[in-house]
């Protein structure tokens, strides 16, 4: 137990050190921007990972919550001039409430009903962003999102925004860790290991899945908020079905049921399109191939898969006379 706590401390300190070094010493604005996007995507993957990796449910419309976060803050702060921080509360609250309404009936049913339900839900929300032009700006997007400021501190510079986003990521990682180490997290992990046994020993699996779906929707909305105030212009294309698939890919590639895996998957899927500039049209093909490869050869995800390979090799070395 004590050893575990120590290990977590080291992990988090290391993480903090990397963030600080990157944030303080990187001069290239483009790199800072990419790292900020990785942070935003990590938030999305973290939330979805709790749902997919632990509760065993897939959401194929998670971009909708990301979009609800972005559009709510855009409309409230951009159109109505409300403080973005109040808008953040409204955006998160809206996403959590909508997740409750969508999740309540679909999670009652067993199997992949949440996947189907969220698929349709994601499409409806995207159509709403596209067609409700007077409010959302329609297909051409929403212009005029104010940058963030908190009292004397403003987040206009890339560096400041980098720290804001990664600060939120660190907080989210700590929250996920706390959940996983708690009574709630144990129940969640027990669903992952065996849903029938979990139900039979007294875990209200429906309620728990619903709660974690709401939590992941909330994190998605926070990511959407950060995205909107970073790029200052949003359009429906960023929150469509492909964005949802990309999030699922991040979680699968990074490794389900792994907090650092979410970070790794988000980093990989954010960097790949930058590297594959020339093949923008084939982006989805590349993602699809990666997804297939991981599912076939490393179904535990890249992080866990490599860890297992290493420990297997080490064990083999040990057993040698």
């Amino acid at each position: 137990m004590a050893q575990n706590t120590k290990k977590l401390w080291i992990e988090h300190s290391l993480f903090l050190a990397v963030v600080l070094v990157a944030g303080l010493f990187l001069e290239n604005a483009y790199y800072l921007q990419i790292l900020t996007f990785i942070g935003i995507n990590t938030l999305l993957a973290l939330g979805l990972n709790m749902l997919m990796g632990y509760a065993g449910q897939v959401s194929l419309g998670h971009a909708a919550f990301y979009g609800i976060g972005a559009y709510t803050t855009a409309i409230l702060s951009g159109t109505f001039g409300i403080s973005p921080w109040l808008a953040l509360v409204a955006a998160t609250g809206a996403a959590v409430f909508i997740a409750f309404v969508v999740g309540l009936p679909t999670l009652k049913l067993s199997g992949y009903y949440l996947g189907m339900g969220t698929l349709g839900f994601g499409m409806i929300v995207n159509i709403l962003f596209r067609e409700w032009a007077p409010v959302t700006g329609g297909a051409s997007g929403f212009v005029g999102i104010p940058p963030l400021a908190a009292g004397p501190v403003n987040f206009m510079s890339g560096r400041a925004y980098f720290f804001l986003v990664w600060g939120v990521v660190l907080a989210a990682i700590l929250i996920c860790r706390r959940i996983l180490a708690s009574r709630m997290g144990r129940a969640l992990r027990s669903i992952h290991d065996g849903e029938n046994a979990s139900l039979a020993v007294g875990v209200n699996t429906h309620a728990l899945k619903l709660q974690i779906f709401m939590f992941s929707a909330g994190l998605g909305a926070v990511a959407g908020f950060l995205y909107a105030h970073f790029v200052l212009f949003i359009s429906p294309g960023s929150f469509g079905f492909m964005a949802s698939v990309k999030m699922v890919t991040m979680v699968v590639i990074g490794g389900m049921a792994s907090v650092w895996g979410a970070l790794f998957g988000a980093a990989l899927l954010t960097l790949l399109p930058e590297v594959l500039h020339g093949f923008a049209e084939y982006e989805m093909v590349v993602f699809g191939l990666i997804l297939m490869g991981v599912m076939i050869f490393l179904p535990q995800g890249l992080t866990k898969g490599f860890m297992d390979l290493i420990s297997k090799r080490r064990r083999r070395d040990h057993s040698r006379p």
């Binding site: 709630m184 144990r186 027990s190 029938n196 979990s198 139900l199 039979a200 020993v201 007294g202 209200n204």
Partner: protein, 264 residues
């Protein structure tokens, strides 16, 4: 819950009362109007050939299956309207025929999940870690460790449950079930896969659990174990109750001999 229900249970004084319980799967009648009652504090053996409906009966008592007709009264309360976790909360726990521990979690964590219905920290508790949450967690751990001590599994507390030898896994399921402070514990073939020494240890553990005041129902194929530790035995055959009585009565029952013991 009606007043009627209450009066019935008071009158009979039984912990569990099963009334004309019927379950069909398609055209097959898995349970046909089964009725019996169990007094508090006893160990009740449930025997019968494979396919007699023993596990189906457990699944109905624990709320996994809904009966097609009849009712289950636990402590005078009709459990039909209750969800599975509410039934556990009311005081019925179980183990499984095929071990269903949470393999990637440590044994201690398995027992802590068993305590789920007796603890209450939720999402906000986990995030804020308020003093009451910490106290609850510490007390839960203390109790879980005591249970592991009681079942002789202390050495395995921090090992993944999936790494335990099969014999220990069976005991671990009992520890996890006891964590919910049950009044009634349903054991589904606890001796299956155990060797003679382990079976004997299991028999002693069941006697100790009984001393703690936990009523038990036990499905068992090991006849010497079932007859040795049961105060009362129910015989099921093809979804029907064939007989109920003390082990001696059952061993001398001609219908049972013909239908069941005679076969094997």
């Amino acid at each position: 819950m009606t007043i009627q229900d209450h009066d019935d249970s008071r009158a009979s004084g039984s912990l569990l009362e099963v009334r004309e319980l019927t379950k069909r799967f398609g055209g097959v009648v898995a349970q046909d109007k089964i009725s019996f009652s169990i007094e508090p504090g006893i160990v009740c053996g449930l025997i019968g050939p494979n396919g007699a409906g023993k596990t189906t009966l457990f699944n109905m008592i624990t709320g996994i299956y809904q009966p097609d007709a009849g009712q289950v009264l636990f402590n005078g309360k009709d459990t039909r309207k209750m969800a599975v976790h509410q039934i556990v909360g009311a005081g019925i726990a179980r183990t499984f025929q095929h071990v269903e521990l949470f393999g990637s979690m440590t044994l201690l964590e398995n027992v802590l999940v068993g305590m789920h219905v007796r603890t209450r920290a939720g999402f906000w508790g986990a995030v804020t870690r308020l003093p009451w949450v910490k106290t609850e967690e510490q007390e839960a751990r203390k109790k879980a460790l005591q249970l592991l001590d009681f079942t002789g599994l202390s050495d395995w507390a921090d090992k993944p449950a999936g790494d335990l030898p099969v014999g220990r896994q069976k005991t671990a399921e009992i520890a996890r079930a006891l964590a919910s402070d049950p009044r009634l514990l349903l054991l589904d073939e606890p001796a299956a896969g155990l060797n003679a020494v382990e079976t004997e240890q299991l028999g002693r553990l069941i006697a100790q659990v009984k001393d703690r005041g936990v009523t038990m129902m036990l499905v068992e194929h090991d006849m010497s174990l079932a007859m040795g530790i049961s105060d009362n035995v129910i015989v099921l055959d093809q979804g029907k109750k064939l007989a109920q009585g003390t082990p001696r009565e059952i061993q001398n029952n001609e219908t049972v001999m013909a239908a069941y013991l005679g076969q094997g």
